[in-house]
Subunit: 143 residues, 2 copies
């Protein structure tokens, strides 16, 4: 038969679907955060800079920025830098805070700082609000 025996396998569909949909969001978050970083530290976010820091070519960065604009997260005018909208800034702030919490938690449980920084980049996108709250509580209790 091997058809209806879902018993031990649980709601795998939900789990995987959710993990997959998180991926599309991850890119938006990464670019948004990078643009915010550049705006803060360099004063402007130009396509070339974004591309270089993201490790992609400039057309790829242009495409990503187009998507950010489509999603209402960024604005830009030809040959001018890229800027974040209110929504974009909010996302950047949220992502930045989450990233910090994730890194802190990893370090708190004994992960070497360098590995923590590296892994957090991938991990952070899959940390739900619930989990994030738990991380914060754990860190607060430790402190």
């Amino acid at each position: 038969m091997a058809a209806e025996d879902d018993t031990a396998l649980g709601d795998t569909v939900e789990r995987f679907s959710q993990a997959r949909s998180a991926q599309s969001q991850a890119l938006l978050e990464d670019y948004t955060e990078m643009i915010d970083d550049l705006l803060r530290e360099v004063g402007e976010a130009r396509i070339t800079d974004i591309a270089r820091h993201m490790g992609v070519t400039h057309p790829t960065a242009t495409k990503a920025v187009s998507r950010l604009k489509r999603e209402g997260l960024a604005q830009s005018r030809p040959y001018r830098g890229v800027f974040l909208t209110e929504a974009g800034l909010a996302m950047a702030e949220r992502v930045r805070a989450r990233h910090r919490v994730v890194v802190d938690l990893l370090v708190a449980v004994g992960v070497p700082a360098e590995a923590a920084e590296l892994d957090a980049e991938g991990i952070e996108h899959y940390v739900s609000d619930t989990t994030l709250a738990a991380f914060e509580a754990f860190l607060a209790a430790r402190r």
Copy 2:
């Protein structure tokens, strides 16, 4: 200028590149683990079952299995089920163990079990060996 000021932004390229390349591996791992689960619990892994549990259509599962075969992780004959090679079994075992450690760690730091299970599905793929070792050490110390 806004061009060479990499100072505060660090090696972002490496981080992002690594996170991106991890994604392609994630799918292989997920399918491999699912096939292993099915083989263990149902006795066979058929395309339709794999598809259903992964939340995709059967042609998508077929493509994924093709890729697994290409990578030497699985074997299959038309209209027969899918089986894992030695390498596939090894990967499944590794993935399964890592998954368990990640869930355990999340729970250990206070994440509700359900959220831990859900988030682990995305997180696990980005946990490096270094971080995994740290998780294990943390759990061992707690126990």
